[in-house]
């Protein structure tokens, strides 16, 4: 096996990782809420995509949009009705709340969908670039993940609501004085976090079997990526995701698959010590 394949594998999974982490990172950075529901949101998006494909024959590439919209509404309502009530409390309070909500959501999904692994059968074939094989469905997922991440970046940089979110992140009180309705911005931010999770679920459904039992794994990845890349910014999640994808691919290739996961955590620990802001994070959000 040559290094081309290792890099390709790392980048393809890395883009999906970035997509997994970006919504989580945004919510954590802006609201200071660790959303324990993030993994379940992704899987909910995955299931919606799967059922749309199974019953309505809608391709996952199309259902990304409605699935993301549904998750936005879910996220908005959860923040508006529940988390906003405790959002000023210490981080442990909101963590406990989202943890509890996650258990409810997770168990409902288990009840409705069962943990049986299912799969969207897309099998688009593969691209052979001189011995480096690129499965087309992964290429599509990577492209969409990068597109979505880029879109979010543009929204955050150029739109009114994007600027409002950034303003609230920088100084909540000053933003409120400037006439920004903080509670609404919070709800929208959480909604966007859920939206990204839902969209990512649609992509995950293309490349992975869908089962409720992996929600915790997604959440774990999101944590590692946030620490590696840096919290609260879109480029941070992108850099962190791609870095983790490559680290795992190379560690798995040089050593063993067991080492791959270990390597991710070791790099995370090292960064926490030498560069707590992450690779591209800014001071103050570590």
């Amino acid at each position: 096996m040559d290094y081309g394949q290792v890099v390709a594998n790392g980048l393809m999974i890395g883009a999906v990782y970035a997509c997994i982490a970006v919504g989580f990172s945004l919510v954590w950075g802006v609201l200071n809420v660790i959303n324990m529901m993030h993994g379940s949101f992704i899987m909910l998006g995955g299931y919606l995509t799967f059922f749309a494909w199974l019953h309505l024959k809608v391709s996952p590439i199309v259902s990304v949009v409605p699935v993301a919209a549904i998750l936005f509404v879910v996220g908005y309502l959860i923040q508006y009705l529940m988390i906003n009530r405790v959002v000023m409390q210490p981080v442990l309070t909101t963590l406990t709340l989202t943890f509890g909500l996650d258990m409810i959501l997770y168990n409902f999904m288990n009840l409705w969908f069962t943990a049986t692994p299912r799969r969207v059968v897309l099998d688009l074939g593969r691209l052979d670039l001189g011995g480096v094989i690129l499965p087309l469905d992964r290429v599509v997922a990577m492209g969409l993940a990068l597109l979505l991440t880029g879109l979010l970046y543009t929204v955050m940089r150029t739109s009114r609501i994007g600027r409002a979110i950034v303003a609230v992140r920088m100084d909540r009180d000053a933003a409120a004085l400037m006439g920004i309705r903080v509670n609404k911005v919070y709800a929208i931010t959480f909604g966007i976090g859920a939206l990204m999770a839902g969209a990512c679920g649609a992509l995950v459904a293309v490349v992975f079997p869908i089962t409720t039992s992996v929600t915790g794994l997604f959440l774990g990845k999101a944590f590692v990526i946030c620490v590696i890349g840096g919290l609260g910014s879109v480029p941070g999640a992108l850099v962190g995701g791609l870095a983790l994808g490559l680290i795992e691919a190379f560690a798995g290739f040089w050593f063993s698959p067991q080492t791959a996961i270990l390597a991710g955590f070791v790099i995370m620990l090292v960064l926490l010590v030498v560069r707590p802001t992450g690779l591209v994070g800014r001071r103050g959000y570590e």
Partner: protein, 397 residues
């Protein structure tokens, strides 16, 4: 209130207490920590279905015959959420709080070990319904009995079928999940293959929390094996087979333990499942007649299909068989005394719908001729043993 009525009241109370005491004594309590949610929820539910089928049958007969008296059976179930720690706590609670007479172990070798440890401490017989790894049964537990046969038996049969059917398959790449049962299946395969004169060209383990298998599978591709052997649970194996197709990894023989045994593996892979071989502990086409609430494999199969609208797999059968073995041991002992039932289990030798049950000294069901299957035309087809053979081994296209 006069003296007479006080006496009357006291007598009534004493009688009442005695009556409830008797009523309690007339039920046999069996405790079952089950993974009804979490990673093993599917497997846990399979056990629950089998338990319920047996429970309905046995109570319809009035219960288990204990020394000439019928005692009804009550099943106390808890969901341990696929968390080892909780399985241990609940096993303890079942014994201490619920005062169960016997225990059923959860799915899989890992969690069975935990529950068996607790049961051993309290001297409660525990039936393992789906543990097949020797590492569980060589702990010296006296109260643990399992209905599955040892892992080594199934890989020996598998190697015999493959070397006979496709003699050119000499170089094996093994990829196993770093987990009790899947790892044991990878290790016994490596040992048995070496003994059979085959060459192990790679033996790697992937961690439990692996989301993606691209790297180990791409590595296998560069080795060009004749035989790819992967162990894990359904989610891992579906992913592995999909990534093999993605990365164009092929071999004449592809074995997945225990993927094709389960309906969901074939359903979610579709055409990609074609040609995958596996080993199982039970297949409904192996017909047995036995002395149990069903009486024959066919009766068990028919009841299951009518109820669940799908075929039973070995998890269902081995779970129901564990309760049958316990029932027969209680009947043989003529008491629900834990130590005596334990001794009756140790010397049990019966024929059931599931096949023969006779526990070896370590508590495991004796070696049997275990079925080898291959997915052909979207269905699991039995390749071995000869008596129930439905087809011959074909190379994977």
């Amino acid at each position: 209130m006069n003296v007479k009525s006080i006496f009357g009241l006291a007598a009534a109370l004493v009688c009442g207490a005695l009556a409830t005491g008797l009523a309690q004594a007339q039920t046999i309590k069996i405790g079952a920590p089950l993974a009804l949610t979490g990673g093993l929820a599917d497997e846990g539910k399979k056990q629950a279905i089998a338990y319920d089928m047996w429970l309905k049958r046995i109570n319809a007969q009035g219960g288990i015959n204990v020394g000439g008296k019928k005692m009804r059976v009550e099943l106390v179930q808890y969901d341990y959420q696929t968390q080892e720690q909780r399985a241990q706590q609940l096993a303890e609670k079942l014994i201490v709080d619920d005062k169960v007479d016997f225990l059923l172990a959860p799915f899989g070798s890992g969690h069975t070990k935990v529950v068996a440890g607790v049961a051993e401490r309290y001297g409660v017989p525990v039936m393992a319904t789906s543990a097949s790894s020797d590492v569980i049964f060589n702990q010296g537990y006296k109260f643990l009995f399992g209905t599955l046969a040892p892992n080594s038996g199934s890989v020996e049969n598998l190697i015999a079928v493959v070397t006979k059917g496709i003699p050119s398959a000499k170089r094996i790449a093994i990829l196993g999940r770093e987990d009790v049962f899947p790892k044991a299946m990878a290790t016994v395969m490596s040992d048995a293959a070496k003994k059979a004169g085959l060459e192990i060209i790679s033996l790697e383990y992937y961690p439990v929390g692996a989301l993606d298998l691209a790297t180990p599978i791409a590595k296998i591709r560069s080795l060009k094996p004749d035989w790819i052997y992967i162990t894990g649970y359904s989610k891992d194996l579906v992913l592995a087979k999909k990534q093999m197709a993605d990365l164009n990894v092929k071999a004449p023989v592809v074995t997945m333990i225990t993927g094709p045994v389960y309906r969901e593996f074939i359903d979610s892979l579709g055409p990609l499942a074609e040609g995958v071989t596996s080993a199982s502990w039970w297949h409904h086409s192996a017909q047995f007649k036995g002395d149990d609430p069903w009486g024959s494999t066919k009766a068990f199969y028919d009841e299951f299909v009518a109820r669940e609208k799908s075929d039973p797999d070995y998890v269902h059968a081995a779970a129901a068989a564990a309760l049958v073995a316990l029932q027969k041991a209680i009947e043989k002992a003529g008491t629900i005394d834990k130590a005596k039932v334990r001794d009756a289990l140790a010397s049990l030798d019966i024929m059931t719908f599931y096949g023969p049950i006779k526990f070896s000294a370590n508590g495991m069901n004796g070696g049997r001729d275990l079925p080898i299957i291959q997915v052909q035309g979207g269905k699991p087809v039995v390749l071995h043993p000869e008596s129930i053979k439905q087809g011959t081994l074909k190379p994977v296209q």
